[in-house]
């Protein structure tokens, strides 16, 4: 059972995420748009009730970039403040594929955690709201984006929290392409061996990667079977079905991690993307005619928001 009102609110958030990402893709002449189309409902669901994050008192404004961490730079601030203050019982969120950063920023706005004006700093020199975020970027807990490292870092944090007696869980968004990486399977081996159940992973199974459709690059099937064999509790859902997404996050999984495989459509809500013929990783808008077609998609999305 999904508490009343949640699905409606998450539908609004998912539309908002898609619309904001498309707006910025138009503003920048390109961007990681297909990932927003595939994962909008996933992030809306995670921030809209599945994760038990500590609240922020008011939507936060991103700080300017304050330098990288070092012994001589005590001023650098992590992006996790947007996910709420540290609390033993509060959940954490780790975005593993950081080319999804703009989608995360949009989700933070929809969740009331970032001021909408924060996106004005997106991809601006000297801003922390970077195109491919680092741990100082809004909503970022750790240094991810070198694909495959997010899960192991999350395991270290979750293990540390378990040893400290904390009850909060750690949630991740991973991309399906990351399951081509050997290290990810090392991580699942570890999760299983240490019976770690304070970790939940939503995977955007959009079957796309940088070089094109995954089946033309390196297939990963049967992903659910592999994960189950590695000891995970696996649920496969329609990644645009808000009810299924929410309910999967509530599945019991004692002694093992939860993996929600979200089968998604990378062109969902922006049908113009289908014209790219499967080269979906990064959209570069080439000419005015193409721009007008994406502007028409934006108008449709905005009309849908009423």
């Amino acid at each position: 059972m999904v508490p009343p009102g949640i699905l409606e609110r998450n539908a609004v958030a998912a539309r908002g995420i898609r619309r904001r990402v498309l707006q910025h893709t138009l503003r920048n002449g390109g961007g990681y748009l297909s990932q927003a189309c595939s994962s909008a409902e996933i992030l809306a669901t995670l921030y809209g009730g599945v994760m038990d994050l500590a609240p922020v008192p008011a939507p936060l404004l991103p700080r300017p970039f304050a330098g990288v961490p070092s012994a001589g730079n005590p001023d650098c601030r992590p992006g996790w403040e947007f996910n709420g203050p540290r609390r033993p019982d509060a959940d954490r969120f780790i975005l593993s594929p950081t080319h999804y950063s703009l989608i995360l920023y949009a989700a933070l706005i929809e969740a009331g955690r970032m001021d909408p004006s924060g996106l004005d700093q997106f991809n601006r020199d000297g801003s922390s709201v970077e195109m491919i975020g680092a741990e100082h970027s809004p909503g970022m807990e750790v240094m991810t984006g070198s694909l495959g490292q997010g899960l192991s870092q999350a395991i270290g944090m979750a293990l540390g929290r378990r040893m400290n007696g904390e009850t909060g869980r750690t949630w991740l968004l991973m991309s399906d392409g990351e399951f081509q990486i050997g290290m990810v399977w090392e991580a699942f081996q570890f999760l299983s061996h240490y019976a770690m159940d304070a970790i939940g992973i939503y995977v955007d199974v959009n079957r796309q990667q940088c070089d094109g459709p995954m089946e033309s690059v390196m297939g990963i099937d049967p992903l659910a079977g592999k994960l189950a064999a590695f000891g995970a509790e696996v649920a496969t859902v329609d990644g645009h079905d808000l009810q299924a997404l929410h309910e999967a996050g509530r599945l019991p999984h004692p002694g093992r991690p939860l993996v929600v495989l979200c089968e998604t459509d990378p062109c969902r809500g922006v049908p113009e993307l289908r014209a790219l013929g499967g080269k979906l990783h990064y959209l570069r808008i080439k000419d005015d005619a193409e721009r007008r077609r994406y502007e028409a998609c934006l108008a449709t999305l905005q009309a849908g928001e009423g």
Binding site: V68, P69, A71, V142, M143, S146, S152, I155, E186
Partner: protein, 335 residues
């Protein structure tokens, strides 16, 4: 010379008693890296990761974020070669207090090229936020945990195991960024590190007996390295400087000393002993040291070349040298 066994194994257990925040992580080489006794005493603070170093290093980063001090133990090659990206992004970038204890530096092992960490100083020194230590004797093995954990960020330690000689007095522990001045001299300066310092002591004793004024510094902190700490010793050596390292001459101690010379504006001829931009192979340490010109006789030949004189030193002369623990010739503060 006193020879001690399992020094790190004992030190690690003692350190664990005083530091409840430490966790020992291993990758199937626990006993080979002297972590076995810690495992037996502190089983709930021991985290075996299996043969999965990339996962282990990123997990170490996550643990450090929660207030723990992970002490990663495995062979050096499996740290900096296998898991470099994980070290760079999960550990070094966030400047987390992960301490990497890297065993089998250089030509210490007959395990051959797969097990010999020969370019790790060069690789790890290039990573921002990293501190790099190169342990030279039992006293430094005893002090490595204290020094590594006194640094708030990540530390890579080239570690010695098994039977280790005590070259430096037990009451003169290693200090961060403080080369040990073992002797001062006006003809030649020898700068050595790791197991090469024992070989260098063998040679310098005989060279001195032949009338050569040889200065000698032992370097155990490869980064940070403050050039001014060796500037006077370099300037005092009128014929030049010989570096001697258990590592390739590219990017290690030889490079560090060369950088120091240039930064201090002290130009001297520099000869770099070590692996001459080559991989090694599986054989005994003594065999490899001779084959690759990293033994006492190799140092003698370089000094002869610098001073322009054949000194008539034989292998027998070198073998007869009895090495005792050497006090620092100068107070560290004065370096």
């Amino acid at each position: 010379m006193e020879i001690l066994a399992q020094v790190h194994a004992r030190t690690l257990v003692d350190f664990g008693a005083r530091h409840p925040e430490v966790r020992v992580l291993t990758a199937d080489l626990s006993n080979s890296c002297e972590a076995g006794p810690f495992r037996d005493v502190y089983r709930d603070r021991f985290i075996p990761c299996g043969i999965s170093e990339q996962n282990m290093l990123s997990i170490a980063g996550g643990l450090a974020r929660e207030g723990f001090v992970p002490l990663v133990h495995t062979f050096g090659v499996f740290i900096y070669r296998r898991a470099l990206d994980q070290i760079a992004m999960s550990v070094a970038y966030p400047n987390l207090p992960v301490k990497m204890f890297a065993f089998l530096p250089g030509i210490l092992t007959p395990g051959g090229a797969t097990h010999q960490a020969i370019e790790d100083v060069a690789v790890m020194r290039a990573l921002p936020n990293l501190t790099v230590l190169d342990i030279g004797d039992a006293t430094e093995v005893e002090g490595a945990l204290d020094v590594a954990c006194s640094v708030p960020g990540p530390v890579y330690v080239r570690m010695l195991r098994g039977e280790v000689p005590r070259l430096f007095p037990a009451d003169e522990p290693m200090r961060l960024d403080r080369p040990r001045v073992l002797a001062t001299g006006t003809d030649v300066l020898v700068a050595s590190s790791s197991i090469c310092t024992e070989e260098a002591l063998r040679a310098t004793a005989v060279l001195r007996a032949k009338g050569v004024s040889v200065g000698h510094v032992h370097v155990s902190t490869m980064k940070p390295f403050t050039p001014a700490r060796v500037a006077d010793a370099i300037a005092a050596a009128r014929f030049g400087v010989v570096t001697m390292e258990n590592h390739t001459v590219v990017g290690g101690l030889g490079t560090i000393v060369a950088e120091a010379m240039v930064e201090c504006g002290v130009a001297r001829p520099l000869r770099r002993l070590g692996l001459q931009d080559t991989f090694a192979h599986g054989a005994s340490r003594a065999y490899l040291a001779r084959e690759y010109g990293m033994d006492a006789m190799a140092l003698v030949r370089q000094v002869e070349s610098l001073v322009g004189d054949r000194l008539g030193i034989t292998e027998d002369d070198l073998a007869a040298v009895r090495i005792e623990a050497v006090h620092s010739a100068a107070k560290a503060e004065a370096m």
